[in-house]
Symmetry: C2
Subunit: 242 residues, 2 copies
């Protein structure tokens, strides 16, 4: 989860742990940056710093993919970029539909990271007839009526839902019925989907709430420390004086 998580226990594909898969895109990004600077090789230590992880973890992660490093030297950047891209399935490009072109949907459509990394926005879909035909990020918005046709015509298997919460489950069901098997959900709802469909959820307010929790904890500890820990053990939460 940036994120909330929502995947079944899942029979690990070729033995690659889920936690490792979640970090591969991170490594890929760091490696791409190195590649653009024409750096030929990189050590696990350097790459780990760039990706913000522990170097032992990084080496173990790579070991699941195979032995792509050279002892005493490090990893060949280009080769590793290729291997990770391949493992993630980014050597093919994935057509994606975005449903719900409000503020967030438009932001997603404009997001450069899509096109650059193996994804192609096949269509933007909205339920509002007024939106139909209007170009967003250079792509004309299409009406929700067309959803099924667009998906089957383009062989779309990944859908992004950025509708209001109320519409999400229904949109989700139509996407799945039309052939989509992976969904990235931005609507603040729990989607129920049949087995075999993957859902990942991104929820802005949840992330903020988690931050708030830690923030409150910090403030509480501070206050406690300042007061010389006079409170017993704190059954009541620390209350901030205005």
């Amino acid at each position: 989860m940036a994120t909330g998580r929502n995947h079944r226990p899942a029979t690990r594909s070729r033995g690659i742990p889920e936690a490792t898969v979640a970090r591969l895109p991170l490594y890929l990004r760091a490696l791409t940056a190195l590649s653009e600077r024409s750096v030929p090789t990189v050590s696990s230590e350097e790459l780990a710093v760039a990706a913000g992880v522990n170097s032992a973890k990084l080496r173990k992660d790579f070991s699941y993919l195979g032995s792509y490093g050279t002892r005493g030297v490090g990893y060949d950047v280009e080769y590793l970029v290729y291997q990770i891209s391949r493992e993630l399935g980014l050597t093919q490009d994935w057509p994606v539909v975005i449903v719900g072109i409000g503020n967030l949907g438009a932001a997603l459509a404009n997001y450069g990271g899509f096109a650059s990394r193996g994804f192609r926005v096949a269509a933007l879909i909205d339920a509002d007839p007024e939106m139909a035909g209007k170009p967003v990020a250079g792509i004309p918005v299409q009406h929700a009526d067309q959803l099924e046709k667009i998906i089957s015509d383009n062989g779309v298997s990944i859908g992004v839902i950025s509708t209001p919460a109320g519409a999400a489950q229904q949109v989700c069901e139509r996407l799945i019925a039309a052939g989509v098997t992976s969904i990235l959900n931005f609507a603040p709802t729990v989607l129920s989907v049949p087995d075999g469909v993957d859902v990942r959820k991104v929820d802005l307010s949840i992330e903020l709430q988690i931050l708030a929790f830690h923030e409150q904890r910090k403030a509480g500890e501070e206050a406690e420390a300042a007061a010389g820990r006079k409170g017993p053990d704190g059954d009541m939460p620390a209350v901030m004086p205005a």
Copy 2:
């Protein structure tokens, strides 16, 4: 998660596990919905379904907060809403600044989930002088020059970064220097921060890449099954015929 993760091993606050904290907002949302429908009590099983988790997990999560249920009956919805809100620190409201008012920043500013759940957008900040004064979501955008003043005047401790990747680290440092101690980062970069500062990361393209991985795996398994698993054990990844 949606999310990438990025928190230190962290001395658990009052013994509430990080994983539990991450689910509290989920429970809170489900409970709020029940509250709005005036449902007085709910069982762990019902609530678990609504939140999309295992009921044993939910009970254990709640047990970290205290014994707020009644055996044979369930949990009092209103009371639980209050307890979780309090635990998450949502009984006070947190001023938040959003830095980088592009498509995404605007979407965030317009996002209803903020105001409704304990957060208040104290200011929108952008480096582009052209943006200054323009209202987004009813709030006038202010120039980045004002950043430090805004933060100290409003006592902001949570910042949201939705700038391009290149500007993120610099913005991050200014936020921290000005007093921010929690950051929600939407820019596709690893932020390095001093101890005591929490960073959570939301990365759209990473989420999509994880989906692509699973999607590829599904396609590979399908092809393998169709071919009667004729491949040895697959050193090469399954390749999709066009």
